[in-house]
């Protein structure tokens, strides 16, 4: 590893720490004041945004040093892309912050960015050279624009989430509280993934399997988590390792499914731990944070982020994507799963805008839509790469 790559890694680490500090500072900024007065941006908030900007600069440093080391924009595998996405999310937050001066956005946006960076770092981090299909300037143009669009749309999710936390009545159980908890659980499951992967990695767990793959050929795979589900006709080679409870058919990637099961299970444990300790729904637990939030303003921020993010996403995810696909894959559109999910994302936000503009879906409905839109983006980012995998499965 060259020095530059080392530096790059350190800068990313620095930005992570800075975002963490900034989150706490923003937390201080939204603490209710003693006199109960409506507050402007206080010193905590100013300090928070300063640290956030510093963190952002550090992350830019990571990005460009890695670019210099590799000779191509570091957006060519899952680790690099997700990290870049988190950077765009923070960038979008900074812009929105200067437009609306809302520290509460930082309290939600930065933790999401932190979880995203942690999530990214679970994937292979080495600098890989570009395969022929990726050797194009369009790599940096297309991928960065998509990530920027998705980062801005993520802010719409965060504002929507704040809106929901604020407005949903936590005094009784309802459909709304259930789905809000589902979102919270989803976020916690990502943390669960990071926790469980890191734990077993530190413990050095490895279990090797021989199995028969989709093409009917013999293959081997090393599991880094105890195999709850094992591969097709799998045979455990490593001694003293957990024997799979169930065997998967050949077309399912058992290793990835196993990781998903572990993450969901760990998330489940963490979630219930929080609930049992606090004796509250997670939604209710965070509700005090948004006490002073103006919900109409949140609605507007959420909508505004969609208005800014939608054109950027269209440009990067569809138009630039089509131009590059025409050059690299001979056709601008080929119904590859990733392409289809970009189209689905686009159609979804198109529907969102029509519902809002023409059918008057404001407030809570709009907030739910912003949340669902983000779920679709995450699905495309994570599940399509890991589960469906078409031409885009570089990672």
């Amino acid at each position: 590893m060259s020095d530059l790559v080392q530096w790059s890694g350190n800068l990313l680490y620095t930005s992570f720490i800075l975002y963490l500090i900034a989150t706490l500072l923003f937390g201080g900024a939204i603490l209710p004041k003693k006199n109960g007065q409506k507050q402007g941006v206080n010193r905590w908030g100013k300090l928070g945004i300063t640290i956030t900007v510093l963190g952002f600069i550090a992350q830019l440093g990571y990005f460009f040093t890695r670019w210099a080391a590799a000779g191509h924009a570091p957006v060519s595998n899952l680790f690099e892309f997700i990290t870049f996405f988190s950077m765009m999310l923070v960038g979008a937050f900074i812009i929105i912050y200067f437009l609306y001066k809302l520290p509460v956005l930082g309290v939600f946006a930065l933790p999401v960015a932190l979880v995203t960076i942690a999530y990214a770092s679970m994937f292979p981090r080495e600098v890989s050279p570009l395969i022929p299909a990726l050797q194009s300037h369009w790599l940096s143009i297309h991928v960065t624009t998509v990530a920027a669009g998705e980062g801005i749309l993520a802010i719409s999710f965060i504002a929507g989430l704040i809106y929901l936390v604020k407005t949903i009545d936590q005094s009784k159980k309802s459909k709304q509280t259930f789905w809000l908890e589902a979102i919270m659980y989803g976020l916690i499951a990502v943390i669960g993934f990071v926790v469980i992967t890191t734990s077993f990695r530190l413990a050095g767990y490895e279990a090797e399997f021989n199995y028969v793959n989709k093409e009917g050929q013999a293959a081997s795979e090393t599991f880094t988590l105890p195999a709850i589900v094992g591969p097709n006709e799998g045979e455990l080679l490593t001694e003293n390792r957990f024997e799979p409870i169930a065997e998967m058919p050949a077309f399912i990637n058992a290793k990835k499914l196993n990781t998903v099961i572990w993450s969901l299970a760990t998330g489940f444990v963490l979630y219930w731990l929080i609930r049992l300790l606090s004796r509250k729904r997670v939604g209710a637990l965070v509700q005090p944070l948004v006490k002073n939030v103006n919900k109409d303003l949140m609605d507007e921020v959420s909508y505004r982020a969609v208005l800014i993010g939608f054109p950027v996403f269209t440009l990067g995810g569809l138009i630039f994507a089509m131009i590059w696909a025409q050059i690299a894959w001979t056709r601008f559109w080929g119904w590859d799963p990733k392409e289809v999910w970009a189209l689905i994302t686009w159609l979804f936000y198109a529907a969102f805008l029509h519902l809002r503009l023409s059918r008057g879906w404001h407030g809570e409905k709009s907030a739910w839509l912003a949340v669902v839109g983000f779920v679709i983006i995450m699905f495309n980012l994570v599940a399509v790469n890991l589960v469906i995998a078409g031409l885009h499965s570089y990672a």
């Binding site: 060259s2 109409d296 505004r304 054109p311 999910w341 198109a350 029509h354």
Partner: protein, 546 residues
């Protein structure tokens, strides 16, 4: 079913909700509203005004945004279904769809195939969905843009007070405004790029009206895009061919009507090398084993000058020499040639030694071109090798006792030789295949000993012509312009009116109320004009207090 005349004297089209000129509510519902619905300025949406004939009914169906949203949602769900399992065009070439899905994905795969989801995006119903969206785009836009344009064109400066009161941003007070204060506000409004119109003491400041046309512009872009996609199926607009070409071969480029030929000089495949490439990659190379670096066909493009009939000898003139790489297609005329795939190490020639079995002495070498073998290979001194039979893709012996070949491709070449030597002037018959020799007519003194093999690569190039690209690009560009126009700008209006000893101020925007309020606050600050307040917010905070 006539026109609606407003109290202010303006004549509105039938179905108008708010007078185009003064904004007075014209319907009972509008009079009862807390806030006016300003989406289409209260103009008459034509589709809702006539509903007599079947044409009107169809029209009204597609004119509904609700229907449009449903179409979008249905397309969205349908699209996602197609990604559950790979589409037919992504499954391996050597299997058929009817068995592949069931074999690979079990019962779920079988159902998927039976429902036709394996080729979902070419199915009639999916195309019908997309086409319906296209129709909806045209009709929805037509139905809304005309009345909206009318309403915005006809709007009067002085709006009726009821209209102003029912705007989200509103304020009023007793008294009048000093003319110099009006002047000051006008100055600041102009600085903020507002267009100002005045009419006996009333004022209308407006900016960003063009953003209201954004949605219609982007819909036009989408319609053009869909037209482009439709035209692709017109004969001659689109070519999609695959050209498999061996190293050294010169072939007609399919789809060019015999005008162009291509020679494959050589095919190159490179992988990243830990030693040669940048050391930052060494870890990744170690981890992954092999990472491809380059796929390349060194090609020469020819034009056939006589452009004769198929099968005729072409008269080739070199046009250009170029290396075709992934991401770097060769372009000529309206065509582009893309590096698409390859197959390495196809056998081209085999070399054998005619060998005396006893002495192990080699008499001479015979090199057989697997694509153009000769009858006889004369080695001199009474030695020669006759080729009695050639089976390029040997597949065992048939019922008639003859060796069989599966295909004309030399995947597994086999030969029936007659080995002539001074000892055996009539020759000895030997059958030679890879890892197998037979002597069908009895044991021989000589044999053909395999000594060498020549191979070459085959490159697969996609031949593409797409005359619809510029239409799609135009549609895409217009769409982007429209989307940006509609989402990065806002249509803001401020009305100030003095009537009956009262001052009324109201403001409206189609988005970003927060921004409008901030802007107005800074403009109206330090004047006696009341700053409009968000009635929706105060209403809520009022509620919360109670």
């Amino acid at each position: 079913m006539g026109k609606v005349k407003c109290e202010c004297g303006h004549v509105n089209p039938h179905g108008t909700v708010l007078c185009e000129s003064c904004g007075r509510a014209l319907t009972e519902e509008a009079k009862k509203e807390k806030f006016h619905d300003m989406r289409y300025e209260g103009s008459a949406r034509r589709s809702q005004t006539y509903n007599k004939t079947i044409v009107d009914k169809v029209w009204n169906f597609f004119s509904s945004v609700k229907v449009g949203v449903w179409l979008i949602v249905l397309t969205l769900i349908a699209s996602s279904l197609g990604t559950i399992f790979p589409q037919e065009f992504y499954i391996p070439n050597n299997v058929t769809a009817d068995t592949y899905y069931e074999d690979t994905y079990g019962i779920a795969g079988k159902i998927y195939y039976m429902l036709g989801f394996h080729d979902l995006y070419n199915s009639i119903w999916f195309i019908a969905l997309v086409a319906s969206i296209g129709v909806s785009l045209v009709i929805c836009s037509l139905d809304r843009v005309i009345p909206l344009h009318r309403a915005l064109k006809n709007q009067r400066v002085a709006r009726h007070t009821t209209f102003m009161k029912k705007q989200r941003l509103f304020a009023s007070r007793e008294g009048t405004i000093e003319p110099q204060e009006i002047g000051k506000v006008k100055e600041s409004l102009k600085e903020s790029r507002y267009h100002i119109r005045e009419e006996d003491g009333s004022l209308l400041a407006e900016k960003g009206r063009f953003s209201r046309w954004g949605p219609y512009v982007n819909h036009i872009g989408l319609i053009i895009f869909l037209i482009g996609a439709m035209l692709r199926s017109v004969e001659g607009m689109y070519v999609d061919e695959l050209l498999w070409i061996r190293e050294g071969e010169t072939l007609e480029i399919p789809g060019t009507d015999g005008e162009y030929y291509l020679k494959n000089e050589q095919f190159i495949m490179e992988n990243y090398d830990k030693e040669k490439d940048s050391e930052v990659f060494s870890e990744a190379i170690e981890e992954n084993g092999v990472i491809a670096k380059n796929y390349q066909t060194d090609a020469i493009l020819y034009r056939d000058e006589n452009r004769d009939l198929p099968g005729a000898e072409p008269e080739l003139v070199e046009v250009k020499k170029e290396d075709i790489r992934v991401n770097e297609p060769m372009k000529f005329d309206q065509f582009a040639l893309y590096q698409n795939g390859f197959s390495q190490n196809e056998m081209k020639a085999m070399e054998f030694m005619l060998t005396n079995k006893e002495t192990q002495e080699a008499v001479g070498a015979v090199k057989i071109d697997l694509f153009n073998p000769k009858d006889v290979y004369d080695l001199g001194n009474g030695y020669k090798v006759e080729l009695l039979g050639y089976y390029p893709d040997y597949d065992g012996i048939g019922k008639d006792g003859e060796p069989k070949t599966k295909s004309p491709v030399p995947n597994n070449p086999a030969f029936l030789f007659n080995l002539v030597s001074p000892e055996h002037p009539d020759g000895e018959v030997a059958f030679t295949a890879i890892r197998q020799t037979m002597e069908p007519m009895g044991e021989t003194d000589y044999k053909m000993e395999f000594s060498n093999i020549e191979t070459r690569d085959i490159s697969a190039l996609t031949v593409r012509k797409d005359l619809t690209l510029w239409i799609l690009a135009l549609g895409g560009t217009i769409f982007m312009i429209g989307v940006i126009q509609g989402s990065f700008w806002a249509h803001r209006r401020l009305w100030i009116r003095q009537v009956d000893g009262k001052v009324y101020v109201a403001a409206h925007t189609n988005k970003n109320w927060h921004g409008l309020q901030r802007e107005l606050d800074s403009i109206i600050e330090h004047t006696s004009i009341p700053s409009p307040e968000d009635q929706q917010a105060s209403e809520q905070s009022g509620k919360e207090k109670n």
